[in-house]
Amino acid sequence: MAKVIGIDLGTTNSCVAVMEGGEPKVIPNAEGMRTTPSVVAFTKTGERLVGQIAKRQAITNPENTVFSIKRFMGRKHNEVLAEEKLVPYKIVEATNGDVRVLIQGKEYSPPEISAMILQYMKKTAEDYLGEPVIQAVITVPAYFNDSQRQATKDAGRIAGLDVIRIINEPTSSSLAYGLEKKKDEKIAVFDLGGGTFDISILEIGEGVFEVRSTNGDTHLGGDDFDQKVIDWMADEFQKNYGIDLRKDRMALQRLKEAAEKAKCELSTTMQTNINLPFITADASGPKHLDLSLTRAKLEQLVDDLLQRTIGPCKRALEDAKLSPEDIDEVILVGGQTRMPKVQELVKDLFRKEPHKGVNPDEVVAVGAAIQAAVLTGEVKDVLLLDVTPLSLGIETLGGVMTRLIERNTTIPTRRSQIFSTAADDQTAVSIHVLQGEREMAIDNRTLGRFDLVGIPPAPRGIPQVEVTFDIDANGIVHVSAKDLGTGKEQSIKIQASSGLSEQEIKGMGKDAESHAEEDRRKKGLVESRNKADQVVYTTEKTLKEYGDKVSPEERKKIEQAVEKVKSVVRSDNKDEIDRATEELLTASHKIAEEMYKKTTTQQSAGQGPGGQSEESKGEDKSKKEGAVDADYEVMDDK
């Protein structure tokens, strides 16, 4: 049976894992890394790069290198104005208000960019497993609303993946942690990743995971810690030289890398030096940045960020109706939890030593792989109950939001409620579907809107309209309204809210596929070129050294063949390059033949009629003329 992979599609890094022989295994990418930067780059030559390689060229190409795309997934442009300022690539608004990334004059939707990362993760898994991968479980932050979840699903489809389940990251990490523990426990998952902070309170027992509550901050993570360090460096620099480095896109990129490095170093050391030569220049000459940062100073810089994790933790405990003493275990997830101060803070909050037994960068993907195995039946006796993170309801008289499904309700779930008309002879009701915790409809997020028409005229309060909310296991919401008098029904599936239509997704999926095809073609072309280059090189070398051993005609023939290869090698025609290379190889074999003939005759002559066997002659030859021997062996390999 085909394997189902688990993917942690992170803001800064992504990770893929699969169950193998009952054990979850993180799959290293082509570069041997266990996590892949969620970075996509478009080069000047039209190449598309994903992961570490995209990150390595980021400095040379900041406008066309996309990172932290997860922040824009399923969002409207007017919701992300603050984030837009933090990225060096261009964000524009689509006609429907969605976010688009503008790269080299072409607009890409966030799911399309995410799909490129997913395609890379898919390929990583396929290379490792040696077979195609179709199905996947992808994780999202607990706070993701419906349209963000849907956008993630769309990204999967564009990448050619059938996303069989979207699960919350904390649920996933608790799964990774809880598999071997079967006793009843209450667990707090403290996930401080690159871009998001999530705190979840879970209950584990008898192989069943129940999410008691979730809370967090969608705008708090390692990136913000980096930003604090960047701002500090830029402020110090401005104090000394009066130049604002934040205005220089390239300097900003260098500051960003230096900040991340310094922060990571300070998790193990007490002090670090930040040294950026030639960061900028003014009329008086080049300027260098040279600063020293201590762990204490870093902790002071990020103190307000650390404080911001406390509120959500307390609220999560309240929602779960638990006190810190009730929590049995605390799990740390996300690279930022490596910071000693974070561990200290978590310890103070829950009055327990946090659990660091699982690698904080990989734990989410590992859990997703376990979930995948549960769904395929590979792992039994684990049942996973998930909850809806936000309340759902409809707008009723006076612009009030009436909740049908309270937040933290375990899903899948289904709730119905009867409503009536607000005015006499009202023949239509408008169902305005909302998500959020605020009392007034206007303060919450609109998921969708539809009308139920054809209600027979009657005094207000008489008609009965049954509104049903149905959330499936993936957290996708279906809403229907039924007039119990006439049996008329209207429903919507809240799905198109990622901003992409069915057709668009299919088109993008095709694009992605053809791109993969193109990549394969390009790779083949490069391989042919490399081979051609190498054959030309070895032939020319042999010709220079032993060219006098062949007749002038042969020599000319070979030289012509070399010229032919050289003339086609830069073309895009793979077949032509292969053909010319083949011809050159055939022609160059002549030298080998001639040389072989000559050395054999020479040796036979030199050794005289000693009556030696063919075999021992061969041995002698290789001893005496090892260099020549090796040379044409190489060519015969080609």
Partner: protein
């Protein structure tokens, strides 16, 4: 390892920096030869077109000498073991003329 030990011992006992330097250089050469035989190669960088498969750009600068997109300086060497990059060269890439 023995050679390193010898070098350390001689550094302790003798003030002759030149011969110490020469000794360390010999060890470096020897070490490089051994690794070279195992398939270790230095990655070419300066004067080559910037290639993220081999190089990591740490900064970009204007240059009169090198055209746009060409590696103009190497901050640390990269290495390949057989055909696999084990360490990327950290490089400065030219932005072309001012």
């Amino acid at each position: 390892m023995d050679n390193f030990q010898r070098a350390l011992d001689s550094a302790k006992n003798s003030g002759d920096f030149d011969s110490f330097h020469k000794g360390v250089e010999l060890i470096y050469q020897h070490f490089k030869d051994i690794l070279g035989k195992e398939g270790l190669k230095e990655i070419k960088a300066i004067g080559e077109p910037f290639d993220p498969h081999l190089h990591e750009a740490v900064m970009q600068q204007e240059s009169d000498e090198f055209p746009d997109g060409i590696v103009m300086d190497e901050i640390s060497k990269g290495y390949m073991l057989n055909d696999k990059v084990i360490k990327h060269s950290k490089v400065i890439v030219s932005k072309g003329k001012k």
